[in-house]
């Protein structure tokens, strides 16, 4: 059997006292679309960021083949949820900037971009500033940018969030084609129907742990549910926690100032003191 592309062993990630992920073991093989499914605050984005090498795990290790993933970032293509496009640059300039950082000559990345731009129906927009781009156009540009250096693994964080039906369909179709061409895609999503449609393997993340890992059929068998939604609900029946990464404690000065300003409202003051 081939060696896994990406191996996560005993990976945990904490932010202060909050455990965002607890003991994750995963192996990602090539030629698959792997769906990370979970609610808000489940730990999907943290897991993706760890896989992308932009964060270090608190415990455990993540290896790309035999090397730490943080040293192998050139093998990865990432599309973050925010897309991260510069509005004063054209779509092509955005893509070229990243390609140059990966050491890809401009003509080489241009050829590759043309190939996918045609499929994504974004060819005419490449020379336009991204400032006026719709969410769908931004997502497609970010996808092109992630593909321009021919990555071994493509990490997509909610790639269809906020897209219209046609754009979402185009993105899903491209992901399928990439898989058919031998690519490996890790695909984070809220939508079970989408995961079922696109992914060969689904990993359900809930409250920082992996609750299930298998093909859609295996998940149904494992839970005895008639559809994936029921399977998901039965696997994540405990209450979801708040999104830990956004959980920032209020500073003392800020709290004092807030109490000072709201002190004349008795009910509010009582509520704050109870807190």
């Amino acid at each position: 059997m081939n060696k896994p592309l990406l191996t996560l062993s005993g990976v945990a990630k904490s932010f202060g006292t909050v455990d965002a992920l607890t003991h994750v073991d995963l192996e990602i093989n090539s030629g698959q679309v792997i769906g990370l499914v979970g609610g808000n605050g489940a730990g999907k984005t943290t897991l993706l960021r760890l896989m992308a090498g932009v964060m270090e795990p608190t415990r455990g290790q993540i290896l790309f083949q035999d090397s730490p993933v943080s040293t192998m970032r050139k093998k990865l293509g990432v599309v973050p949820e925010s897309t991260g496009l510069y509005s004063r640059l054209t779509a092509w300039e955005n893509i070229r900037y990243h390609s140059r950082m990966y050491g890809i000559p401009d003509d080489e990345s241009w050829k590759r971009v043309l190939q996918f731009a045609y499929r994504l129906d974004i060819l005419d927009a490449l020379s336009r500033h991204t400032k006026g781009f719709s969410r769908g156009m931004r997502q497609k540009t970010a996808l092109l940018r992630a593909l321009a250096h021919d990555p071994d693994i493509l990490l997509l964080d909610e790639p269809t969030a906020g897209l219209d039906v046609t754009s979402a369909r185009t993105v899903r179709s491209l992901v399928g084609q990439l898989r058919d061409d031998g690519g490996t895609i890790i695909y984070s999503t809220h939508h079970l129907a989408e995961a079922q449609q696109v992914c060969d393997r689904i990993i359900i993340v809930h409250n920082g742990t992996i609750r299930a890992d298998g093909s859609p059929t295996e998940l149904l068998e494992q839970t005895g549910a008639s559809n994936l939604e029921e399977a998901y609900v039965s696997l994540t029946s405990d209450k979801a926690r708040a999104r830990v990464e956004d959980d920032e404690k209020e500073g003392k000065l800020s709290k004092w100032w807030r109490l000072f300003l709201t002190g004349k409202t008795p009910k509010m003051k009582e509520a704050l003191e109870d807190e």
Binding site: F15, T45, R49, A52, G53, V54, M55, E56, R73, K74, L76, V78, P80, E81, S82, T83, G84, L85, Y86, S87, R88, L89, E93, Y97, H98, R100, M101, Y102, G103, A142, R145, R243, E245, D246, E248
Partner: protein
């Protein structure tokens, strides 16, 4: 090309391209610095000159109350003052007491009132005017001028009548020759002295203030716009990212400062051609050290501002931190202007910010004192290194990624 330099130069190039595509930025960082000194030294004096000429050409109305002196009246007429004669009002205690004339003055029915009373050989006078009116001030100034000339004529007449020489009586101690010839400093050195009083301050304040906007845009701005996460996924280290952004901010700031100095030199050349000021004479060694001082200062300030901006979660937060932080540059800059450079102790050249500003002042005076150079060079390098270390710490913070959502 090494990988590190490829990352740094690619980041810097992209940041500069993106930054200069905003016309407001070009206006703030290119056009304004280029024009500020020519505007200050050439356009402003020209404007003041034309305003003064306009005021000179005005005919002003003056009411003359009390006794009349024909000689003085003639002088007033020669100064374009239109005189109308009146009686002194009864309701005043002394000549300066405005009394019932107050409304006429406040409403500028007349620009000023001149009161004159002869008391034997003496004359007593007052001028009633409105200090907030330029025309009234001008009328007063013309009358004072005429009165001074008239008074001198009266004094000289009295002295001659008494058989005395007015010149030797009134001015028995005089400077012999041209006082400008007695200064051992050349005109170039004098110009250096004048410029050393404000060039270091301008460079310091402009470097710090012009670095604020790009620093915020390239750090907190990236966080706010959600572009930082994609950037952190690239195969470069955080230090390379910092170096690229530092290079971009430093380049933008240097261009602004260079244009400002260019504008200043143009203004100096203009003033020199009008013999108002000489062209400063600065040796090559001083010029090189001056450039080095500015570069080290820029390294330190830009790194520090990038670090503070990177700590911030939003553009607004970064602005509210970096805006007041400019005071830490302005106060030392003002303070340094009043420090006496003659016999200054070397430890002054070890104080952060003050050291670079003092160094620039000394170098503009073309004074290269080895001990001072060593102290400011070593201490500045240490401070620049500390600022870079602080910036590196901020760029390595994990919450940089965690707080992006």
């Amino acid at each position: 090309m090494s990988n590190s330099w490829r990352f740094v130069s690619t980041i810097a190039k992209k940041e500069i391209i993106e930054f200069v595509r905003d016309w407001r930025t070009l206006l703030a960082l290119i056009v304004i610095p280029l024009l500020i000194f020519p505007a200050l030294f050439i356009a402003l004096p020209l404007l003041l000159q034309s305003e003064a000429a306009e005021l000179d050409a005005l005919e002003l109305d003056v009411a003359w109350q009390g006794d009349i002196n024909d000689e003085l009246n003639q002088m007033f007429n020669n100064s374009s003052l239109i005189i109308t004669f009146e009686e002194i009002p009864d309701d005043i205690n002394n000549l300066s007491h405005i009394g019932s004339d107050i409304d006429r003055i406040r409403n500028q029915e007349v620009n000023a009132i001149f009161r004159l009373v002869q008391d034997g050989d003496e004359w007593k006078f007052s001028i009633l005017y409105l200090s907030t009116s330029e025309a009234s001030n001008e009328a007063r100034a013309r009358m004072i001028n005429s009165l001074t000339i008239w008074e001198n004529e009266v004094i000289n007449g009295t002295l001659v009548e008494a058989g005395l020489d007015p010149e030797s009586t009134l001015d028995p101690v005089t400077w012999d020759g041209d006082w400008e010839e007695s200064d051992a400093a050349t005109r170039g050195e004098q110009a250096g002295m004048v410029l050393s009083m404000f060039i270091p301050m301008v460079i310091a304040i402009w470097t710090a203030s012009s670095a604020i906007q790009p620093s915020i845009d390239m750090t907190a701005g990236e966080r706010e716009r959600g572009t930082l996460e994609a950037l952190l996924c690239l195969p470069c280290t955080r230090m390379q990212l910092l170096a690229g952004k530092w290079l971009a901010v430093a380049t933008i700031t240097s261009v602004g400062v260079a244009l400002q100095i260019g504008g200043l030199l143009f203004a100096i050349k203009f003033l020199a051609s009008a013999s108002i000021i000489g062209v400063p004479t600065v040796s090559l060694a001083s010029m090189l050290l001056l450039t080095m001082a500015v570069v080290i200062f820029a390294v330190m300030v830009v790194a520090f501002e990038l670090a503070l901006a990177m700590r911030s979660h939003s553009v607004k937060e970064a602005g509210s931190i970096l805006g007041p932080a400019i005071l830490f540059i302005i106060f030392p800059a003002l303070f340094t202007q009043v420090i006496n450079l003659d016999g200054i102790e070397s430890w002054w050249f070890g104080i952060p910010l003050v050291n670079i500003l003092l160094a620039m002042r000394e170098l503009l005076l073309d004074r290269v004192i080895a001990e001072h150079v060593i102290v400011w060079l070593v201490s500045s390098l240490i401070y620049a290194g500390l600022a870079a270390w602080f910036a590196a710490r901020q760029f390595k913070r994990e919450d940089l990624v965690a707080s992006i959502s």
